[in-house]
Amino acid sequence: MLALIPLFPLVGFLINGCWYALFQAPRGCKKAGATVPGVIATLAIAASFVVALFGFIQLHAMGSEHRVIEQVLYNWITAGDLHVDMAFRLDPLNSLFTLVITGVGTLIHLYSIGYMGHDATPGKFFCYLNLFCFAMLMLVLGASMPILFLGWEGVGLCSYLLIGYWYTDIEKAKAGKKAFVVNRIGDFGFLLGMFLIFNTFHTLDFEALRTAVGTGGDLLAAHGADLGTVTAICLLLFIGCMGKSAQIPLYVWLPDAMAGPTPVSALIHAATMVTSGIYMVSRLNFLYSLSPTALHVVASVGAFTAFFAATIALVQKDIKKVLAYSTVSQLGYMFLACGVGAYTAGVFHVITHAFFKALLFLGAGSVIHGMHEEQDIMKMGGLKSKMPWTFITFAAGWLAICGIPPFAGFFSKDEILWQSFSSPNGSVVLWGLGALTAVMTAFYMTRLFSLTFLGKPRFDEKKLGSHHDNVVVHAPVHGHDHGHGHGHAHGDSHAKSGVHESPMTMVLPLQILAVASVIGGFMGMPHMSWLEQWLEPVIPVHEGAVALGGSMEWVLMGVSVAGAVIGVMVAFKFFAPSPEKSEASLQAALGVRNRWPVLNRMLDHKWYVDEIYEAVFVRPIQALSQGLWKQVDVAVIDRFVLGFGRVSAWTGQTIRVMQTGSIQVYALMLAIGVLATVGYLIYGLA
């Protein structure tokens, strides 16, 4: 039954892919229509969701001690010691991930039908999207490291394909390439980690590995392993997580990944793929918990990433860039949780984050769709009345990410902050960074929300419409396409110019996700956490948190809520909600920024990280490649190879003089040869 879960998207991928490749692509289809491929893809992933739900219910019915469903399809690799089965295993941890992937995935597929309605090649888009879901489900369901790695590479490939989906725009193609290359660096670490695991424990299966490690690592010595090896394994695998889950120093690809269509940003770069690093760390929690060093690195990187990305998000003007840096920051939170040993809190935040960040991205997509491909929040404002559903749902997401109780983000974020303070691996510094990040998160999200929906419009609606009409007239088939602008041919709902609310297929997912963002947090209420109980077979509950007592917890909870509220208030002061004051307050905000010109410039350029990487890594490598090309390849290797050719040609030219073409000369040669042979036979041998 488990194999059905990834099978459905695979079938959807094959149907859409074959249909597109065989019938649409060769004819250069101009008006393909997103409905048919969209419905096929949505049904495929929805079917997976239903199966995943059955699996979840089945698990729930079992006793809490043996909640595992396993299915072995066939033997994949057998070589010496190495046995890898194509096997899937559903347990409490990945059942949650599966539900989130298929559930949120279904909503985003549904949303894409509306969003990609005017695209030239929706068949290709949905085929990639299904392929991504297949790979992601392989990643979470795989029973061993190689299958996880299969999915890990698969999602990387789909991410690349979808970021560069509008590849005729060179910037977008470059963004895809960057994501792929940066991820490869991480994957290298992951592979090394995997090799080291096999070398040490001679197995790659998760359950076998857990048994091999033993409770608390008491069997380590039997495998000739020590703490150093475990630390090395954990750190190498964490390099993979840095790439896939966008942590410092490999986070740079995620903001650029916003070049892809917005549903892709919601599905891949917010809800699912980027959380696979957290999945792996919590899957291997028995290893990570053994090594305080590795945990400390994970926590520090997470906390610092959370803080660092939040500072950049403060000043971004592109609506998707703000959300992208916010995603990096939230992923940092999740690793902070894992790093202090609170894997449950990390998984909890994965789930709530999937809800509210997918919601925010889809809301942003709806805004971009409604504003006719405008992404600059400085040119928005006052969309509250124009796009009521988007406004209400976005507001739910905004409150959730800010951490206002009782929205989903509050519970998970508060759990992380509390754990980072109270856990044996936590510290005040980690908590401080987390809390500061929470304040900044509230600030930049409120800024985004206010600039987009509140205040008064900072765009000329007539101009938007007329500009849009121009696009309709002049749109080349493969021209400059922003968002869904591939050869606009607008239907009835788009007939009127100006800002408009999105179609129903886009609003419905927003509404469902908004509900999830509001109530999603109750599954992990402190002290009566259903989630903690559910995950207990996979992630043992650790007792450190209780030691500090209840009152401290309430105090910290109060502090984090107060921080969020302060962030919101400050943002509202500068980016005022009321139309009358909005102009003046924007000026005030500008004035505040101008007071620190250096900091201002640093933030505007995202701390110059891209520039530094360009100078330190990209340029030297390019120079090295150029040098190798010109000095080694052309100068040495080419010369050597061409030399062979020249020598052969010269030899041939020289020897062909013998070939006169005259029969008599040949006959003479023959006679001489015969004489020589006979002479040798008669006299030479004797």
Partner: protein, 103 residues
């Protein structure tokens, strides 16, 4: 009873004919003459076979001669056919002018 000719005399005679044939093949330019020279060489060899057969009292040599005469007849037929075809296309039987494979 007539006097028996010495074996070496016959063999020397055969060698002489063979060398004449070889010289003809190497020197003459007319392809018909070359073919005739080849026949000369073949017959020199035949004569050698017969001589050794007589001297050594072994019938193998005479058997070989029959084979060679048969094959030589076929070879001449093919050779002459080629010469005619060559003359029809190139209007010449001079080997200096038929060096088509050179370039």
């Amino acid at each position: 009873m007539p006097q028996q000719i010495d074996t070496w005399v016959v063999l020397a005679f055969c060698s002489a004919i063979f060398m004449i044939g070889l010289a003809g093949v190497l020197i003459r330019r007319n392809i018909l003459v070359i073919l005739m020279s080849v026949e000369l060489m073949l017959n020199a060899v035949n004569l050698t076979f017969v001589t050794f057969s007589k001297a050594l009292h072994h019938m193998g040599g005479q058997m070989s001669v029959f084979f060679i005469i048969t094959v030589a007849a076929a070879e001449s037929a093919v050779g002459l056919g080629l010469v005619i075809a060559m003359f029809r296309t190139l209007r010449s039987v001079d080997t200096d002018e038929i060096q088509l494979l050179r370039e």
